[in-house]
């Protein structure tokens, strides 16, 4: 007999682990990754590889030489940040800008707060917003999607995203119905055949990934449902009031980074609230801010800002919305 081990109960542990959670998210990102490679070709692979490599490298360097703690780069969190950062930038972004983004995401948004689990903001979004503000030109000239094996050899053609076209059009006084005709069809938008950042173009691939996360119980339904619901309701009301001034909810759903934000950024465990009530509030807030920025803001897209703003409110939400305690409300059902 060995020396007996003494510890407090429970003496068994479920098979859940940080690694499983993280790699679950990575698997969920694969469909969108494949679509982006299909539409943006080699450039997509280049951006993905550089972003992931830079994130892993920065995490390793900081852990080894600054924090001097155990290296945890194989837990998958830096990998996710790398992929999400790549998903949030145009495919023709210069290498050095990607590396700067990775440094901001990992070094500033994550490790400076103490590493995994301590960052108040989603690292990939912080990196993205930093790049968007610092390099607006490079970050907003999206190459037009061209399928991998298509015979079109137009290489460096860039253009705005559907949301950008809409915003510019409305600014110059055009009607929604006129602008829509200049845009790719809804089907094209759904699949991802349009201008945009790497991972955000295909709503359908992101939806598949999101469902996978829900089925694996890595994320809960509260944030996605509240987020999507509030966007649909808010834009729906506006659309019903004036369809010539405001575009329909479907357009809002399938364009821009909404799907990516809803399923992969807003649901980021570390920076979102913990109770289900809090998660619903968080989702609602994200939805409303997104729509406000998209319709009245200076930027055509507001998902990143909305999520970051709500990230900042997360501690407050956690404090104010506690889970329902057992036995809190006395309910006696007398026959």
């Amino acid at each position: 007999m060995n020396l007996l081990t003494v510890s407090g109960s429970p003496h068994v542990h479920g098979d859940n682990s940080v690694k499983k959670v993280m790699y679950g998210v990575v698997y969920a990102l694969i469909p969108a990754m494949l679509i982006s490679i299909y539409f943006f070709g080699f450039d997509a692979v280049r951006v993905l590889l550089i972003s992931v490599a830079a994130c892993l490298l920065f995490e390793w360097l900081i852990q080894k030489y600054l924090i001097k703690g155990p290296a945890t780069i194989n837990d998958g969190s830096a990998l996710i940040t790398g992929i999400l950062l790549a998903f949030n930038v145009p495919s023709n972004l210069p290498i050095w800008i990607i590396i700067v983004g990775a440094f901001v995401a990992i070094g500033i948004a994550k490790m400076s707060f103490g590493g995994l689990g301590k960052n108040p903001f989603n690292p990939a979004l912080v990196g993205r917003v930093f790049l968007l503000i610092s390099f607006p030109v490079q970050m907003t000239s999206w190459p037009i999607a061209k399928p991998l094996f298509s015979s079109v050899v137009t290489d460096a053609i860039t253009g705005p995203t559907p949301l950008g076209i809409l915003k510019d059009g409305l600014r110059s006084g055009e009607k929604v119905s006129d602008i829509i005709t200049q845009l790719p069809s809804y089907l094209q938008q759904l699949v991802g055949d349009m201008g945009g950042s790497l991972g955000e173009v295909s709503a359908i691939a992101l939806l598949i990934g999101g469902l996978y996360l829900l089925i694996r119980k890595i994320i809960t339904w509260q944030i996605p449902v509240a987020y999507l619901g509030s966007v649909i309701i808010f834009t729906g009301i506006l659309w019903l009031v004036n369809p010539e001034q405001f575009v329909n909810p479907l357009f809002h759903l399938i364009t821009g980074g909404l799907m990516l934000g809803v399923f992969f950024m807003a649901t980021d465990m570390v920076s979102s609230p913990m109770s289900s009530k809090g998660q619903i509030i968080f989702g609602l807030g994200c939805g409303i801010i997104t729509v406000v920025i998209r319709i009245w803001g200076a930027y055509p897209e507001g998902v990143s800002f909305a999520i970051l703003i709500m990230n900042a409110l997360t501690p407050l939400i956690n404090n104010s919305f506690k889970p329902k305690r057992f036995g809190e409300v006395v309910k006696i059902d007398h026959k």
Partner: protein, 443 residues
Amino acid sequence: MKTFKLGGVHPAENKISENKAIEVLPIPKQVQIPLGQNLGAPSVPIVKKGDEVKTGQLIAKGEAFISSNIHSSVSGKVLKIDNVNDQSGYKRPAIVINVAGDEWEENIDRTDTLKKNITASKNEIIKKVHELGIVGLGGAAFPSHVKLMVPKGKKAEVLIINGVECEPYLTADHRVMLEKANELLVGTKILMKALGVNKALIGIENNKPDAIEHLSKLSKEYEGIEVHPLKVKYPQGGEKQLIKALTNREVPSGTLPIEVGCVVQNVGTALAVYEAVQKNKPLFERVVTITGKAIKNPSNFLVRIGTPISELIEACGGIPDKTSKIIGGGPMMGKSLVTPDAPIVKGSSGVLLFDEKESKRVEEKACIRCASCIKVCPMGLEPVLISQLTKLEMYEEAEKNNIMDCIECGSCQYTCPSGKPLLDYIRLGKFKVGQIIRNRGKN
């Protein structure tokens, strides 16, 4: 199928010994009967060194209200009344008896005949339960007579018999339900009479279909007893969770089940009540499961209180080579023993042996704030928050976040992907907050 709503987990069931019939364990050479076996005040010994005692003789009295009598589980000579190691290795007073023969008190009915007719009155039942030292056999060992005395202003409406056995590995209650079903049902009727209720619900998780079927069939002969299958979910055997599952009543925070008109008793307790009231037999033996993946012959034994755990393991084929942890109770709420020489007490429901790999905890990592612990907490608490508050010694804040409502079921720690010792800290926090509350009462 019924179950409780909030939280819960489903650990691997591993009921290895469920098909093993209850065997009577041979009486050991010496027993150590601890004086503090039940929740509440320890009992006061009334025998002294050198006294001859018979099986079933009263040897220690529970003098406080929440306290119980202790009877000798063997016949023989009192060797000493001294401090012996308990499960955690701390010294606790116990009566040590050297066994000689097995001579029972004359008034105990040792026949197997089923005595269905309940002649005792309500008060007589409670008196019997008190005198014969019956405590809750589910694990906490709360003196049963206290539960039967409904406080003024409260009314018992439903008796709930707990046959859930939600702890993985354990099968003692399962076997009792299969082998002592009639006795158990008469015991239930006795408890109903003591409480003055005409409805009793027996809750059984549906991983024990044979027990559900058997009891459902037999219970038709007993008026007012219903058997309810429950969806398998841990910790359904918790009093408050079981009440919620069966009656949809929610026991308010900080109160007892009687607040919602319920009284919960374990199946083993119902059997012990039957034996006490109908057969005059004090609680000096109980069914204990000895199990573990490496153990040669996992079994369910009828064991005399005070028998060293090592004897039980020996009877199952000895300690397997790589045993690294011995747990008294189930894997979710049991205590790990520092020595296999600790005695079986009234609250012991099982002994579980783990090998090296099973007994090591997973490596602790950073919390990723995934809120899994919050999702599985059956009491709707935030384990991550209250354990952190304890770590930071912010006990007042922890109290505000209902740390005292924690039932220590361990679901949070079981499910935590980062392997955080959540429950360890919460337990420490409860201890500290309890101290603070007691001091407040004094001032």
